[in-house]
Point group: C2
Chain length 278, copies 2
């Protein structure tokens, strides 16, 4: 790269850091890349840090010393996130989203890139401190959420299939009972999709009793992998605590009331926004 003026270097460094979250970049690498003194690079990083932290883009963690460097951790600000989840809850409450069986139509929302980026950043913020090797989800609607989160955590996504496809090679399958309709179903994952001992974050779009997520937890055991966290976009509040198979999870929104007759839906911010978590 040709030598840049400070103003151009700030632009380049900003995009360079934004596209490499959770990655340690040494001051030496930056100094070489921009043919600049480490002291100048450090000054640039201080400016970027102040903007990123002030505007709710993320944190810049700097490591001092010979092996020193900088790591960009995408983090939203809770007040901004709460404001945005409020808007999402209002969208989820639209009466025409009610489908047969008390399900909510939300496929349209899960197709919008701006919303997915916001939600992905909320999950990445919730799990920023965990040690995570991969994100797991089950097809189909969890996939966009898992990938949106993976962009900010910079780890790969593995997708559990509801049937066994020929293009996956040898697979591990398990049966699970979906909590909402009590039917036995099958899910499978390619043997080579996950290394043993991986620390895995489970992401899904909707959770009632948690049967599907419990299935993924069981599948992880088959791979000798570890659950590093569970994040759901919308949880149903219509489940008793006894019925719930899973208690340690983060939800971004909570469906608290569905009245099929009046088509009235109430959606509130999830446990991510509870006081004790801030």
């Amino acid at each position: 790269m040709k030598k840049l003026k400070r103003s151009a270097r700030l632009v380049e460094m900003t995009q360079y850091l934004l596209s490499r979250p959770h990655t340690l970049i040494s001051l030496t690498a930056f100094a070489d890349r921009y043919q600049s003194a480490k002291s100048s690079i450090s000054e640039d990083l201080a400016i970027i840090k102040e903007v990123f932290e002030g505007e709710g883009i993320g944190e810049l963690h700097t490591l001092a010393g010979a092996a020193g460097g900088v790591r960009f951790i995408p983090m939203c600000r809770k007040d901004q996130a709460l404001d945005r989840i409020g808007g999402i809850c209002r969208q989820l409450e639209q009466p025409d989203r009610l489908l047969a069986g008390g399900y909510l139509y939300m496929t349209d929302l899960l197709g919008q890139p701006a919303l997915l980026q916001e939600v992905g950043l909320m999950f990445a913020t919730a799990f920023a401190g965990r040690d995570i090797d991969a994100i797991m989800t089950v097809e189909t609607k969890g996939i966009p959420l898992a990938h949106a989160t993976s962009l900010y955590l910079n780890v790969p996504v593995v997708i559990v299939r509801r049937d066994h496809k020929v293009t996956e090679g040898s697979v591990v399958s398990i049966n699970y009972v979906s909590g909402s309709n009590k039917r036995i179903q099958t899910m499978s994952l390619a043997r080579r999709a996950l290394r043993e001992q991986s620390r895995v974050l489970i992401i899904d779009d909707f959770m009632k009793a948690g049967g599907t997520i419990q299935g993924m937890v069981d599948l992880l055991h088959e791979f000798r992998a570890v659950v590093a966290g569970v994040g759901v976009f919308v949880e149903s509040g219509e489940v008793d605590n006894e019925e719930r198979l899973l208690h340690d999870y983060i939800s971004l929104a909570r469906l608290t009331e569905v009245d099929l007759k009046s088509r009235h839906i109430t959606v509130q911010p999830g446990n991510f926004f509870k006081e004790e978590r801030t």
Copy 2:
């Protein structure tokens, strides 16, 4: 937003533009946001433009006049893209990717956020000049590619299902013949997923004869929607031109040779990299 110094403003403007591709932002909006004169904003944009265009991040299109503003169009540089697709082709050529039936295992690659961003940017570059309202793909492996592209084109993704799920509401289903195994299959899309007259970019992971993509084209006709383009990650070169159902598409890689006995695979850059397209 509090008033920032020029250096901090450049950092903030860079991230602001990067997160809003294909969106017209007026100079007035920037001037208000940063409490700065339009002349200063214009100088900042000139610096950002030079870095973005020099480094292969994208183009900044400026519109002059009272309604003037700026639009960030993510675009990769062809030489950088060719270099990266070369690396991806080498990964696809690994002998242990060969599966029964001459299929290639590539689910692992389609889970890597950095690779998906590169490939998404290539598709966004290929189709930057088209007028696109939505991106369509069919579950499951096309989904990450469609979403990666949608981030750069800033349009929603609609996902065609291979079966009819209860949570989608009323759906339109069609039968199609998969070119590779000649079986009749069904695909469906929720009635409310796509507006009539939408201009739709179709994205998929793999194309042999093109039966699946032709199915999506037929489905679009049912919605009175228009095909704005077709992009495939890997096309099979083992198909005669007569056999191919589809001729107007962009491929990023081309599987030119599969020798099941010696397990030798050859993958080359796709038609996106052909001279006449540059």
